[in-house]
Amino acid sequence: MTFENNFINHSKEYIFLDNETLLNQREETFKKIFQKNYDKKNNESLKNITITDLSKFEYFYKPKKEDSTISLIDNFNYEIRVVNGICKNYEDDNIEIRNLTNLDFKKFLNQNNNYLDDIIIDFNKIFLNSGFIFNIKSNSKLKIRLIHSTSDNFTIFQNNFVNFKKNCDVQLEHYFNFTHNSINNINYNINVEEGSVIKHNIFENFSNTNKLYLTSNTVCEKSSSYNQNTYNFSEGFVRNFHHALLNGEFANATLKGCFFLKNKNVCSNKTNIIHNAEHCSSDQTYKGILNDHSKANYYSNTFVHENAQKTEGYQLSKGILLTDNCSFFSKPELKIFADDVKCSHGSTIGPVDESALYYLRSRGISKNEAMKMIISSFIEEDLQNLDIDGAKIISNNLSDYLSSLVDD
């Protein structure tokens, strides 16, 4: 199905059909992409990606409401299942969650994320068919497990709003459970209010017929802390784009991730942090292991406004190439307009350290085993934020990945 046909034939299934302004916006965005008028410089991170996957696809979206569940494991421990983009409407003392309705158009009218200028977000705007609003109330201390399930052949274009009210302390675990042939373009707008501390762990692991385009746009208010970790073990295509805006003093944002690629898999990562207030700190670190014919790229950017003095911003990208046929591209960018800052970036790409391998081998450890030890230690520091369940998942995924490494 062509891009144009998809837009014309399936527009009835999208939300906000009754709002003229939004429909016009949608039309404009469609025209922009259709006529290829989008800014290529801002979208260079999509260089290796076949954009046609997101325009020429078989559109399919027929969700059933009854599948989605919310279960309370104990008073402070939630499991929320979002099935085919739909969640169960629910409210209690700690949280409030409901699906977007046509009455929520104001949220979209006021949405000003043009500075993100990313074509994946544009596709999300055009085909938007689901979304939810999720509020976490003040002073709550919670653990939330959020599971996105998508059935066969579904195309999900989802825009979600998550609002952490003042002084909450939340650990958010994000899982993706896809079956076959699904396209998932999921956009999160996260607002972290004053004094909140958020740990956000994202586990990406699904089979190779599925595609995930995950975008998050986080605004951090005064003295808040947002800590994100993505773990990508999936055999399907993943595009991570995470953006954080530090809007209040003493805020802190960390965007970290690691990815493990094999076969012909491709993975695209982009992180972006804007410092808009004094005394903020940020950290962007991505690590990747590439095997077989896989390809990855990582674009990071730290932007410091002239009023954001006393900023500390760090970036790091590390890649290990296991074969001659994989490739890794990184572009760590710094744009700084304030003088009293400490900013740095580092980037390394290379093979597994030969001398470390030799050291282990000379002590009687097989090559395969030694490789496993070295690679495990490579991501060890990223596992610090995880609790015991999370660590178990990573550990299992890692041994799956490593078992496919060549034997000697």
């Binding site: 591209f329 744009k335 700084i336 307009f337 740095s344 970036h345 980037s347 390394t348």
Partner: protein, 483 residues
């Protein structure tokens, strides 16, 4: 800092851009604008063979189809290519003077003002100079001595006459005319520049040097430099640039090609001090330079060192193509921007051969309202086994109206290659400043001292004569914006 140094600083501080004088010489120039007629005119003035004219016209046709590259982080009004003189020569230069006595004494005076050792007897250290004034090469010193060794050091227009086979073989082999619009423009209208050929197993005994100067108003300078180092040879080449102070912007689009064959080494140093415009950002040179070196043979080495203090807009990426196995590419750069200057500079290292190594040290200093960008590309192709790169780029910000940006592109397609990149951005260390102030240095002196220390890693790569000049330049560039 001793009194002598601060006196020197004061002296430089007073006259700021001391090269801003204009030499009143009748110059011979055709009408403004660019078309095939002008190219034919230039070619005819230089008495060029037919193949050269065809090459120029082909490049011109390519240029017509191209638009200016847009990716750099610089802003300037669109260049009106029809409002520029493409050829300007001091009158009476149809035939090149045979020795210095035939040259217009006013020209000699100009070069003496610039401090170029044109007259051989005055030369102390032995620097062979080829001086380019607007569009023509004025004189080349030390020619005789170099000839004995078989070294060819002359202007490119002379080389087209005397060594057509070398020019034909190598011109455009590293920077094809169709690479981007500035290279196409330069290929079409280049007027002069230097040509160097070092024969097999010859170590050039002296530093070769070129001085470029734009004198005439509304003139573009398009020089072309071609350096070929044959097997086992060595050459060190210096380039300096100045221009008079004018309110209008002038265009400078040069192409420099280096070719190092087996075991050869080329060291190329630049001190660029084009007129940067005044405090309000009026006037100044637009500097769009393409510099590229090809390490063609095994074990060859190309090293770029640059000190960039001038130009209103700098767009410059001296790069290395490491084709031969075990070849080495190096890039050392200091870029200082003040007032409303904009610089987008960096390098490109393309590793093709096995065991190739590259090293990048870049120091950026931004002051006033300037924007300073480092843009680098390091790529390892599939066959670059065991290749190695180390990149370090540091930025220093003075004041909160300026910007410092670092945009590296890092691409690896080989799993035995190792890339390391690190960068930092910070302001001048308060502790160091306090230490210097405590010892009686003025704020300005202290800043100048710290900045010089910050750049030392690069400045020490420069040949002796340039290192002193570069250090002074660094101090002058800081003038008026600290304290």
């Amino acid at each position: 800092m001793d009194t002598e140094t601060s006196q020197t600083l004061d002296k430089f501080a007073q006259d700021k851009y001391k090269y801003g004088f204009v030499t009143n010489i009748d110059s011979d120039r055709p009408k403004k604008g660019l078309d095939e007629e002008i190219i034919k005119f230039i070619s005819q003035k230089k008495n060029e063979p037919n193949w050269m004219l065809t090459w120029r016209l082909d490049s011109y046709k390519k240029w017509l189809k191209m638009s200016d590259p847009k990716w750099a982080n610089i802003q300037f009004p669109k260049i009106d290519y029809q409002d520029i003189y493409y050829y300007s020569a001091p009158k009476g230069f149809e035939k090149k003077p045979k020795d210095l006595s035939e040259v217009d004494p006013k020209l000699i005076e100009t070069y003496n003002k610039l401090g170029i050792p044109l007259e051989e007897q005055k030369v102390l250290a032995g620097v062979a100079v080829d001086a380019v004034f607007d569009s023509v090469s004025v004189a080349t010193t030390y020619k005789g001595e170099l000839e004995k060794l078989g070294i060819v050091f002359c202007s490119i227009s002379e080389a087209i006459q005397s060594h057509p086979e070398l020019v034909k073989k190598y011109l455009g082999s590293v920077i094809p005319p169709g690479d981007h619009s500035f290279s196409a423009l330069n290929s079409a209208v280049f007027t002069d520049g230097s040509f160097v050929y070092i024969p097999e197993n010859v170590k050039c005994p002296m530093e070769l040097s070129t001085y470029f100067r734009i004198n005439a108003e509304e003139t573009g300078q398009f020089e072309r430099t071609l350096i070929i180092a044959d097997k086992g040879s060595y050459v060190s080449y210096l380039e300096g640039c100045t221009a008079p102070q004018r309110d209008t912007n002038q265009l400078h689009a040069a192409n420099v090609e280096l070719i190092a064959l087996e075991n050869a080494e080329i060291k190329y140093s630049t001190v660029q001090n084009w007129y940067p415009g005044d405090e309000d950002g009026k006037g100044g040179i637009y500097n769009f330079v393409t510099k590229r070196g090809l390490c063609k043979g095994k074990n060859s080495k190309i090293s770029w060192t640059q000190v960039e203090t001038g130009s209103a807009v700098t767009w410059k990426y001296p790069s290395c193509i490491l084709k031969g196995d075990n070849s080495i590419g190096e890039f050392y750069s200091v870029a200082i921007t003040n007032n409303f200057q904009q610089a987008d500079t960096g390098t490109k290292m393309t590793h093709i051969g096995k065991n190739t190594r590259s090293k990048i040290i870049s120091k950026g200093i931004s002051l006033g309202h300037s924007q300073n960008t480092y843009r680098g590309n390091v790529s390892f192709l599939r066959k670059a086994h065991k290749a190695r790169n180390y990149t370090q780029c540091d930025s220093l910000l003075v004041g909160n109206k300026c910007g410092a940006h670092t945009i590296p592109y890092i691409d690896s397609k080989n799993n035995s290659a190792i890339i390391e990149h690190e960068a930092s951005t910070s302001k001048i260390n308060e502790d160091q400043l306090y230490y210097c102030r405590q010892r009686g240095l003025s704020h300005e002196e202290a800043v100048s001292l710290i900045v010089n220390g910050f750049c030392k890693q690069v400045l020490q790569e420069l040949p002796m004569e340039f290192a002193v000049e570069a250090q002074k330049l660094v101090s002058i560039s800081l003038e008026g914006s600290v304290g």
